[in-house]
């Protein structure tokens, strides 16, 4: 654009005057350093996050697959109902020895004689390869369709957790046989079954749907997911409005006097109260005083609400403080009331900060175990809670409990559970983050 034929080439441009020394080199170095610090800081954060995620995922991705065995189960009437009383006694079908059916099917599959005296030991080992969960699995099939008795069906049954671990290579098979839970014979059978395609790893949907169990292969996060869901809803529904309302009062309406100072200091202080103390409070107030049931997600939600409130309030207040006063006077000047000014102008501008507080507060509430300990939510709960008043657990509780289990198979499940929690967290935050992005605006 400068290729003009008669460009006077700056002949008349002012000759550069002697430049002042404003330490530009040094300042640029400082600038670059500063910028670098920022990058490094973000790098550190992301690095540690990556490291954490890496450890968790490496340890936990296998939990989403579970070794299953394909068996041709014969629903032998002589096993299910040896005395032929199933029509008169409904309990017969419910309490039959279903695991035996599965064991027999496995024995047949591996060509072991069920009747032979010398195979007794083998049969015990075989039983040990199949999950005890097969009892309910087969029972449900029979209960749903009693006509199935006598027939043979192809069924995928879960393997026992130790077999699962061995199949995934998590048990060191080089140690002496007596030191491990999976015996050499079982390993041999596993190889046979795997080669036949009868033993494969299938997606572990039970991890998401089942309740707690002492058998690793049957243990799932279902109850915990529901419990956490209830609690997060309660926290969201209570903590967000109360927190925002309190902040608005303190920041926009309250006279600046000792009383509001007291409230302010108080709220800041509540943020420093160890979470377990909120558990004490919840126990005293909600369970003992108000008579709400133990182990209920309602109580958990209330406790977590109180715990989250300071976080939301502090974040919201900071955000409200940051809204320039000219916005307020603009609205007031055309006859908006203070309430209208706050809700129409100030709060929307503070929304990103509010949402950040909410995200962080909820994240914290989602990951908290200690306060739940005292109100009975760190518990073994196998049945789904129908309402927030029923016993339930929470995701971090399940993680905490699994982390303390002795069985090897719980190790990967612990990491798997953490992954689920993080997914839950991500899903929960996504909405807030999208909202926040909508509200973000520079002026």
């Amino acid at each position: 654009m400068t290729d003009i034929p008669f460009d006077p080439a700056g002949a008349t441009d002012a000759a550069a005057p002697p430049r002042r020394d404003i330490g530009i080199k040094r300042r640029y170095r400082a600038e670059r350093r500063f910028r670098l610090y920022g990058l490094v800081a973000i790098g550190i954060g992301i690095f540690f996050l990556a490291a954490l995620l890496f450890t968790v995922i490496r340890g936990g991705y296998t939990a989403f697959w579970q070794t299953s065995i394909n068996l041709a189960v014969t629903f032998d009437a002589s096993v299910i109902d040896p005395d032929g009383k199933r029509d008169s006694d409904p309990n017969v079908l419910a309490t039959a020895n279903y695991p035996l059916l599965a064991r027999n099917a496995l024995a047949t599959r591996l060509g072991i004689d069920v009747e032979a005296e010398e195979s007794r030991a083998d049969l015990r080992l075989l039983s040990g390869m199949i999950s005890q969960g097969v009892r309910t699995q087969l029972r449900d099939m029979v209960m749903a369709d009693p006509a199935i008795i006598g027939a043979t069906r192809n069924v995928w049954v879960l393997s026992n957790a130790d077999v699962d671990s061995a199949h995934k290579g998590q048990i060191d098979l080089s140690v002496p046989e007596s030191r491990r839970k999976v015996k050499d014979k079982q390993v041999g059978w596993m190889k046979t079954l795997t080669a036949d395609g009868a033993m494969v790893e299938r997606f572990n949907s039970g991890l998401f749907t089942l309740g707690a169990s002492s058998r690793p292969e049957m243990a799932g996060m279902g109850v915990a997911l529901i419990g956490s869901l209830y609690m997060m809803l309660i926290v969201l529904v209570l903590a967000l409005p109360i927190g925002v309302a309190a902040s608005i009062y303190l920041e926009e309406f309250a006279p600046k006097n000792r009383w509001t100072d007291l409230i302010e200091v108080n709220i800041n202080n509540l943020a420093a109260v160890p979470s377990i103390v909120f558990g004490l409070l919840g126990l005293a107030v909600f369970v003992n005083f108000a008579g709400l049931p133990r182990s209920a997600s309602l109580v958990g939600g209330l406790v977590l609400t109180l715990m989250t409130l300071p976080t939301i309030i502090i974040a919201t207040r900071a955000a409200l403080k940051a809204v320039p006063p000219s916005i307020r006077s603009g609205a007031l000047g055309i006859g908006a009331s203070r309430m209208q000014t706050v809700f129409h102008h100030v709060l929307p501008l503070a929304a990103p900060g509010v949402l950040t507080g909410t995200i962080i507060g909820l994240a914290q509430a989602l990951g908290e175990t200690a306060p739940l300990l005292l109100i009975g939510m760190v518990a073994f709960v196998a049945d789904y809670p129908a309402t927030p008043l029923d016993p339930a657990t929470a995701l971090p509780v399940q993680i905490y409990m699994w982390a303390n289990e002795a069985e090897r198979a719980f190790v990967e499940r612990t990491s798997g559970a953490i992954i689920i929690l993080l997914l839950f967290l991500a899903a929960m935050n996504l909405a807030a983050i999208l909202l926040r992005r909508r509200f973000e605006r520079r002026w």
């Binding site: 300042r27 400082a30 600038e31 500063f34 910028r35 920022g38 800081a41 973000i42 954060g45 540690f48 996050l49 490291a51 968790v56 309302a245 309190a246 009062y249 100072d261 409230i263 302010e264 200091v265 108080n266 800041n268 202080n269 509540l270 420093a272 109260v273 160890p274 979470s275 377990i276 103390v277 004490l280 409070l281 126990l283 005293a284 409130l309 309030i313 502090i314 974040a315 900071a318 955000a319 309430m339 900060g353 950040t356 995200i359 962080i360 994240a363 914290q364 989602l366 175990t369 300990l373 995701l395 971090p396 905490y400 982390a403 953490i418 993080l422 991500a426 935050n429 983050i433 992005r437």
Partner: protein, 489 residues
């Protein structure tokens, strides 16, 4: 009538009042020279408020107060000698009476008669109905239970009727007198303001609740352990007395725990604050919108990872790593233990990064761009602008964020347990293990020790002490912020 029914009816009345009032207000004839004071929606809301709030407050208060009245009425109905005899465990007696009274609702008339005539084995009968009775009760309890039952029945009926009538009256009040000049907006806003005030008192109530829920046990604790032993003791060894003291209670020295708490929190802050602040500055000042919109939520994930995960991370990865590094540096003997203040602080600091970064980023972004431009226009570099103009302007908010961060650092348990251990020691070396008050609160509460012993009760004393200490720190922080606040515009 059950509570939920009453509430539902009140709600319906309220909604109806809202609709009618809004419609009426919208249809008001405009008059020359008179402006309508409030929008129709405000008239509607006002009617709604009148219809709902007094009724619910009445209902709630009644529900809260009537049991006290019923309780004393039933108590007075008991025979004199019973009263004097069982004065000590009045609550137990009354509890049994209530259980019987409530249980009688489940009984069939025939069974009721049996009960009245004293023929039935109460415990068995009630058990068959799924009501637990600690003991079979005494004969005098049956009439008392009936008194209780009739009193509470009539109380709940009258409360329901009263509440609904009040609701109707409120609705009528809201609907009558809808005029152009009615200050419905002011009224609604006044109620809203009270709502806001109420919300902010939740914090106060929580505090009161926390103190109350710990105070009683704390006092019990201090009955067996002298204050000086607790506050000035330098040894934490609750199961063992100091040699020669002869006491059996042990040593409850707060100092090592307090030191550990502050030390670990300090290390965590030393890590989290610079990293978080620089990250925030980078995000709000340098990064493109896109980068920021990704990095910020990504960092926020750090706040959501359960602390036990951090704990395990510290235990199996960071701790040994630091130990090995320090061993390599020192050539043999590590100067950082696997469990140490440093490990705990570092890992906790990681968790705290988003507390600093996200909150500060929001606050920094909220500083009006005119300030930015003003500084850049003078030839300041971005970093100079940030340091000299933006940060000071954003300071009050950032201090708030830092306070929150520090608070979290003090309140954290799991990371400390796994990263720094539970040994209460007094040392200045960050390479060694220390522990925090919070850890001890959790441990003493969840242990195997007798729950009536000072070893368990000390948890409450620790809780209250920590509460008071952090309160003091917050007062200090408030004072400092006040002093250095810079208000823009």
């Amino acid at each position: 009538m059950s509570v939920s029914w009453v509430l539902a009816i009140i709600l319906v009345i309220g909604v109806a009042a809202f609709m009618v009032a809004r419609m009426r207000a919208a249809r008001l004839e405009p008059q020359a020279g008179v402006k309508q004071h409030s929008l129709p929606g405000y008239h509607g809301s006002y009617a709604l408020i009148l219809a709902i709030f007094p009724a619910i407050i009445f209902f709630g208060v009644w529900k809260a107060v009537s049991p006290i009245y019923v309780d004393s009425a039933v108590w007075r109905s008991l025979p004199e000698q019973v009263r004097s005899a069982s004065d000590v465990n009045r609550s137990l007696t009354m509890g049994t009476i209530y259980t019987i009274g409530d249980g009688m609702r489940h009984l069939a008339p025939a069974e009721l008669d049996q009960v009245r005539s004293g023929q039935a084995d109460l415990k068995a009968l009630f058990a068959s109905k799924g009501v637990a009775l600690a003991s079979s009760g005494e004969a005098y309890m049956i009439p008392a239970a009936e008194t209780y039952r009739s009193l509470s029945d009539s109380s709940s009926l009258s409360s329901a009727i009263g509440a609904i009538l009040l609701s109707l009256a409120g609705a009528w009040l809201g609907l009558s007198g809808i005029t152009l000049r009615r200050r419905a907006r002011n009224n609604v806003e006044r109620v809203m303001l009270w709502g806001l005030i109420a919300a902010s008192t939740v914090a106060i109530l929580t505090t009161v609740g926390i103190v109350l829920s710990m105070l009683f046990q704390t006092l019990t604790f201090f009955q067996s352990v002298p204050l000086s032993n607790f506050f000035f003791g330098t040894v934490w060894d609750p199961r063992f007395a100091a040699a020669g003291s002869g006491g059996a209670t042990g040593q409850f020295g707060l100092i090592p725990l307090l030191a550990g708490t502050l030390y670990i929190a300090l290390v965590a802050m030393l890590f989290a604050v610079p990293v978080g602040l620089f990250a925030a500055i980078y995000m709000s000042e340098y990064a493109s919108r896109k980068v920021r919109s990704v990095v910020k939520p990504v960092l926020e994930v750090l706040a959501g990872i359960p602390t036990i995960v951090y704990g395990i991370f510290a235990l199996v990865t960071v701790g040994p790593l630091l130990r090995d590094i320090s061993a390599a540096l020192a050539g043999g003997q590590p100067f950082i233990m696997a469990q140490s203040v440093l490990t705990a602080g570092l890992v906790m600091g990681i968790m705290l990064i988003p507390f600093v970064s996200s909150l500060s980023d929001d606050i920094i972004s909220a500083v009006p761009r005119a300030l930015h431009d003003g500084s850049l226009g003078l030839g300041a570099t971005r970093s100079e602008t940030v340091r000299n103009v933006i940060l000071p302007a954003a300071l009050p908010g950032i201090v708030g964020a830092l306070l929150l961060t520090a608070s979290r650092a003090i309140g954290e348990t799991m990371i400390v347990v796994l990263a720094a251990g539970v040994a209460a020691r007094l040392t200045f070396n960050p390479g060694e293990a220390m522990t925090t008050i919070t850890v001890k609160i959790v441990n003493q509460l969840t242990g195997d020790l007798e729950f009536t012993s000072p070893q368990t009760l000390v948890a409450f004393a620790l809780g209250i002490t920590l509460f008071v200490i952090t309160l003091g720190m917050n007062v200090l922080a408030l004072y400092i912020v006040r002093k250095y606040r810079e208000q823009y515009e």
